[in-house]
Subunit: 358 residues, 2 copies
């Protein structure tokens, strides 16, 4: 980490391959593994057959320096995480992902080997989630790396869970724990600064393996959705936590025209998260509420269904849905009510100096 990798590795200029050579190189080992997919890359469009199920589709776009810093993000991890971000939206509809398409804008800073490393990560995630990389687009970019990911999936009509179905008194649950990915990012940023100030200094990272994994190579607890199905419980609403718990529960309550109460003491936070929050003098609950990139599933179920699912490990009740107009609140351990707010990416946007300010 942080070392100059260009010294150690072969570097093949993309210009020596040509566009079509690059695409051939990257796709030569791709074969269709998911039985919903009929044709992957190599034509104008990919072909899929969802027969009697409905098609789910979602797209996201990631830009260098805003979403990722390549000085501490291995390209392989970045590729993996992109796929996770894509399929997360499909699971959040209670669907099953089947394919992703990648759009890549590359500056000439990137060699074939760099792009191959990115694709290795993409393919590792595709294998993990049993989906195919079915195509995409590669082009040049005047500045840095830009990546779009489109995920497709499918679900029976009656299984699809939207954001707008939460009812008053429904329980709010989350998978996993929250805030860890953001703390992993803070840790990497801190060690980057230390390294820049003194390149002899070894980064102190191994105390926080879990946080780093959550930032660099997150995974989705989709198996828990299968467990819910097995117990005969269908969530009334669902979303993936990408912007942060506060923003994402409010997406549910706004779409459902309801309010919510989240209980501070119920929010699952890992021990490493608490420890590193202390080092940074941050409140771990604030981090869990606003950190984002957790890729946990946030969902609501009818209160009556709780008995059926309370034995499932890895999910946690964190609050309940309240009536329309009652607002979105955090209930603190000392029983104060604090109104939730949803910052979204706008903070990053304001801090982004862009080309106008260089």
């Amino acid at each position: 980490m942080f070392e100059d990798r260009s010294q150690k590795k072969q570097r093949t200029e993309i210009s020596s391959l040509g566009e079509f050579g690059l695409i051939r190189e990257l796709t030569k080992n791709l074969s269709i593994k998911n039985n919903k997919n009929i044709l992957g890359s190599g034509d104008d469009a990919a072909i899929a057959n969802y027969s009697d199920e409905q098609t789910l589709v979602s797209t996201e776009i990631f830009t260098e320096k805003v979403h990722f810093d390549l000085s501490y993000t291995p390209l392989k991890h970045l590729g993996y995480k992109l796929v996770v971000a894509g399929v997360s939206d499909i699971y959040a509809m209670n669907g099953t992902p089947s394919q992703v398409l990648i759009g890549l804008g590359l500056s000439n800073r990137f060699s074939l080997e760099a792009v191959q490393e990115l694709y290795e990560g993409i393919e590792a995630a595709c294998t993990h989630y049993q989906i195919d990389l079915t195509g995409g687009d590669i082009t040049s970019s005047a500045v840095g790396l830009v990546i779009s990911i489109t995920a497709l999936g499918h679900a029976k009509e009656e299984d699809i869970v939207r954001r707008n179905g939460a009812q008053e008194n429904d329980l709010i649950l989350t998978t996993g724990d929250l805030g860890a990915a953001y703390l992993g990012l803070l840790l990497l940023e801190r060690e980057k600064k230390v390294f820049e100030a003194n390149p002899e200094m070894q980064p102190e990272l191994n105390k926080f393996d879990y946080l780093l994994k959550r930032q660099l190579k997150p995974d989705i607890h989709f198996v828990l959705l299968n467990e819910l199905r097995e117990k005969g419980v269908k969530p009334t609403s669902m979303i993936d936590i990408s912007d942060g718990l506060a923003s994402d529960i409010m997406h549910i309550t706004h779409a459902s025209k309801k309010g919510c109460r989240i209980y501070e003491e119920k929010i699952p936070i890992d021990a490493e998260s608490i420890q590193l929050s202390e080092e940074f003098n941050l409140n771990p609950v604030t981090v869990a509420l606003n950190g984002g990139e957790d890729y946990e599933l946030l969902f609501t179920v009818k209160a009556i269904d709780y008995e059926k699912i309370k034995t499932i490990t890895g999910i946690q009740v964190i609050g309940h849905i309240t009536s329309e107009g009652s607002g979105d609140h955090l209930v603190t351990t000392d029983e104060r009510l604090i109104e939730l707010s949803a910052p979204g990416w706008i903070k990053a946007y304001e801090n982004n100096n862009g080309e106008e300010h260089k």
Copy 2:
């Protein structure tokens, strides 16, 4: 054109809206119009139902300064053209497009009004092609504008046309005429330089309305696909001409493991294209072969089908498929054979200085 539009218009900072405010503003008038679409924007994923048909999906990525120059490209036209680029891939499979998703990376140079102008163009194209904008992603970008477009469509299994079905002696046809979009670009680049050298100078553009339209607001001759169907003719292979006739016919011949002969005298070239080629001292056939961005449909049919379709106006036989290993050739008017080559975007890539060379 070329004027500083920021003087005339209201400017609302995106930071004053927040991410979710921006998305609400842009999507407030969106409603589903295409009956294949069940849910558009507002959830984790869009939902579509292609019932007994197959799903087609394609994605592309466009970056500022590589694919478009905002000094002479109105954002509304850019939005329109993006959708055309997306649906073009669906038509090229002989499918029917039904929805697009847009990913947007914005630097803080862009105001709400600028993004709204882009969306007006996107929506105008969606109306023209009877499709829905069903979602996407908006984020910040450290530098400039980055746009990804994903198009979905559908087709009956038996109607889908791939690139790999061309057989020896099949005729090669194209819709419309070729080279005009690239010449429109050269014209805009020339007038931009004139304007930069002397802002008093009025650009000389009106002589070449058709070329400008082909560059700034292209459309697809998809109606011709319906005419082929009505005549009972299914192409044996098809692609859209986005890289240029030479590259794209070679995509077909490589996928089909065949060769081809294209006849110079048969390539359809508009009178404006010939006139401007002369001004630039370019061979209009070279421009037609390598210009790109034509968004015409290039396809092959069995020779026996020619009788059925020869009365269709707007399509033109330009050559035929030859045996494997015979190569891809242009036959010039004086009957010389010239081997075709496929430059792709690599030329632009090599000319792109990127952030390393600033």
